[in-house]
Assembly symmetry: C2
Homo-oligomer: 85 residues x 2
């Protein structure tokens, strides 16, 4: 189970972790699109707010970049954070 609602960790952080782990694992490569807000909502049964918060966190951490009206994409390796999570 990727999202655990009994885990006190905020759901948006859990969702961010799922995506972050996929990036770290190389499953999602630089310039690949990450799941859209809508698909996160559908996949995890979460609210749009929560999906947006997850993406915002990943963006702040430097893992992804968002192009308005186009989507969010895995950042190029130069922009990846060293570790911090």
């Amino acid at each position: 189970m990727e999202i655990d609602r009994f885990d006190p960790t905020p759901i948006y952080q859990q969702v961010a972790r799922v995506v972050r782990d996929r990036i770290k694992a190389g499953e999602l490569k630089p310039r690949d699109p990450i799941p859209s807000e809508s698909s996160m909502v559908a996949d995890h049964g979460i609210a749009r707010d929560t999906a947006r918060a997850a993406v915002a966190l990943l963006r702040e951490e430097g893992w992804v970049m968002t192009l308005p009206q186009r989507g969010s994409f895995v950042a190029d390796r130069e922009n990846w954070p060293a570790d911090e999570t």
Copy 2:
């Protein structure tokens, strides 16, 4: 009127501008609390989402800092942005 719904500028940016202008004018000084989300909702007739977005913007710009469960406060002068707005 401070908030103009016919102005295409996003409302959260208009609200942020109101607070930013009060800081610039010295009406709100470093370490002073800025209006709470609730009071912004009441004062401007906006949703809490919008108020939070305004505060988030001011925080990103460096004008204020937020202490969880306490409020948001005008940042110390050293942290004020040069201009950028």
